[in-house]
């Protein structure tokens, strides 16, 4: 995978070797091999049922792989029960003990180690300071807001200073405003404590802002591993391109294959696509060209270039505030999705529905995927 070269050259902190987990005939996780490095925030991203939660539960020790091995800090985790792993988990539901106070919840892990009360309370106070919950020691979970509960869960999972913190949809239960705030707070805490995070999420936005690297999962397999930028700008497959963000995909054939550029003929689009980089695919092979909506430009006059432009009619405009989404019906019958930033408040030149328009894009904006 492309991004492995960019990772630090040290021994991987967490190593998964062909890890498989089958439930009867259903294979939830299928031969996943993965290296995660110390201090990383690694996001497992995928739709529901893609196996990401099963993978997380295997790291925690709640599930055992049917095949393959898991190493954490060089130690094989086979047969190591969850209570002996240097791993803690923040549950999606937070799983706070309802009969215990915030202090008892956060101190629970230390109590299991047999740490004396005074020392425990000191550590709890310190941790509550980090998650900004000082003064809430005596509250019970039901007396807290959603955001506060999330922070109690985080404090409880961090108090034993685990080597690895697993987070299952950490922001899923929070509203939008609180999510953004918590996201940055989570990053801040991770940086301060230097813990390695593995985050499971179905929310690409959450993955993009949190992760140093993302592993995109589909049907039990990891389809692509890379930085958020890699994943977004250089998707390896149609699935990744389509799953992360929005994309306009065109099926076509390579009709010109040069080291510095290729030309793709797409009957769907009705115009040849000029791609400003080489592609490793057989000539005449079926490929897919992907262009992100924000990388397409709308104009009333036909652009100068002789390629990468198509005429069409605006059939729908959705105003979102910071940007507008345009759906353009092409003369060839297809529909394109284009987003434009609303940079000016008084758009005298605002485009209208049913207006004839040209859509164009830069040769470097096209990503070609072969599978």
């Amino acid at each position: 995978m492309a991004s492995l070269a960019s990772a630090p050259a040290e021994e991987p902190y967490i190593r998964l070797e062909k890890v498989t987990r089958a439930f009867g005939r259903f294979t939830a996780v299928d031969e996943v091999s993965l290296d995660i490095h110390r201090g990383e925030i690694f996001c497992l991203l995928g739709g529901s049922g893609c196996g990401k939660t099963t993978l997380l539960r295997m790291l925690a020790g709640f599930e055992q792989p049917t095949a393959g091995r898991i190493f954490i800090d060089g130690v094989d985790m086979a047969g190591v029960p969850p209570y002996e792993r240097p791993v803690n988990m923040m549950f999606q539901s937070y799983a706070l003990f309802p009969h215990m106070t915030v202090q008892q919840n956060v101190g629970f892990g230390l109590k299991q180690e047999g740490m004396p009360r005074a020392q425990r309370e000191e550590r709890v106070a310190q941790m509550l300071g980090i998650v900004k919950l000082t003064g809430f020691e005596r509250r019970k979970p039901h007396q807290l807001s959603g955001g506060q509960r999330q922070r109690v869960a985080l404090a409880r999972a961090l108090i034993k200073r685990p080597k690895l913190l697993l987070l299952d949809e950490p922001l899923g239960a929070l509203d939008k405003k609180l999510r953004e705030h918590t996201q940055f707070e989570l990053l801040n805490i991770q940086e301060r404590l230097g813990v390695t995070f593995v985050v499971v999420t179905h929310d690409q936005e959450e993955a993009m802002t949190l992760a140093t690297r993302i592993g995109v999962m589909n049907q039990g397999r990891i389809v692509q591993v890379g930085t958020p930028h890699d994943i977004y700008e250089f998707p390896a497959t149609r699935f990744v391109a389509d799953f992360i963000g929005n994309v306009n995909l065109f099926e076509g054939r390579l009709i010109e294959d040069e080291p510095d550029h290729v030309i793709i003929e797409s009957p769907q689009l009705g115009t040849p696509i000029y791609v400003g980089h080489g592609v490793s695919a057989a000539p005449q092979a079926t490929v897919w060209a992907a262009v992100r909506p924000e990388k397409m430009v709308l104009s009333r006059e036909s652009p100068q270039e002789s390629f990468n432009k198509v005429p069409g009619v605006i059939c729908e405009i959705a105003y979102v505030g910071d940007m507008s989404v345009y759906l353009v019906r092409l003369d060839s019958g297809g529909t394109l999705r284009i987003t434009q930033a609303n940079a000016y408040r008084h758009a005298d030149e605002r485009l209208a529905r049913e207006e004839r328009i040209w859509v164009s894009w830069h040769p470097s904006s096209v990503v070609v995927v072969t599978q």
Binding site: A60, G61, F62, P81, P82, Y83, E84, V87, N88, M89, F91, S93, A95, L96, F97, P98, H99, F108, G109, Q112, E113, K140, P141, H142, Q143, L144, S145, G146, R156, A157, K160
Partner: protein, 296 residues
Amino acid sequence: MRAGSRALAIALPGMWLTLFFLIPFVIVLKISVAGTQLAVPPYTPLLEWVDGHLQVRLNLGNFLFLLKDSLYLDAFVSSLKVAGISTVLCLLIGYPMAYAIARSGSTWRNILLMLTILPFWTSSLVRVYAWMGLLRSNGPINNLLLSLGLIHEPLVMLQTNFAMYVGIVYSYLPFMILPLYANLEKHDPSLIEAAVDLGARPWRAFLQVTVPLSLPGVIAGSMLVFIPAVGEFVIPRLLGGTDSLMIGRVLWDEFFLNRDWPLASAVAICLLIALVLPIIVFQRYQSREVGAGAGP
């Protein structure tokens, strides 16, 4: 319209309780302060019209007599003891069963629940008689032990405290299991996972998380066993020894053998008061729990 239907919804159980609980209670209360007389009914009236005077006769002698004769206090204490021991036994047997049912898969769970309730399909009296047959000197249990060579002469089990406890625990076990199951079944399994994840061995996770969270179920089950067990009459009579002194039996004797209705009513009233107190405590506890669980 809505207020009307709500009033109706409250009125129905209200009427039921008034008709079948409050009025009988008032009648019993009335009899308990009457005097005995050889008549039908066998007690003196509360209100009497004598020479133009309305006389109200309250006879508190029945209650005083209960204190004077140690029989009643002894029977009462012994009933509480029997009920208490039975409750603890039911809890010790019922908790693991309820836990196992709550943890089993949905198919097994329904079968096991069904089996728990199944004995109710037969009359409880028949089931107690069945135990008499099982525990007899020449019953199947003794025969089995004899044929295995474990004992050389039949054990005397019938008419002992052992048989009485077997009967009470057997009869009341479902009342312990069902509320416990209802409680344990609602537990979020991720709480135990969280405890184990934080370093608690499974049995410590059970003691620190499952047990405290199941206390409402423990209390409800214990109430359902303890309260009827205190007044239990049939099982001690049929299975227990002649020396077993239960308040239910005293009540029966006073009522039917001595035909001392006022004294029997006084015993009943005392029993009721003694049992209402723990119920009130339980209600308090529960409303506090409900209040605690009402968070968003």
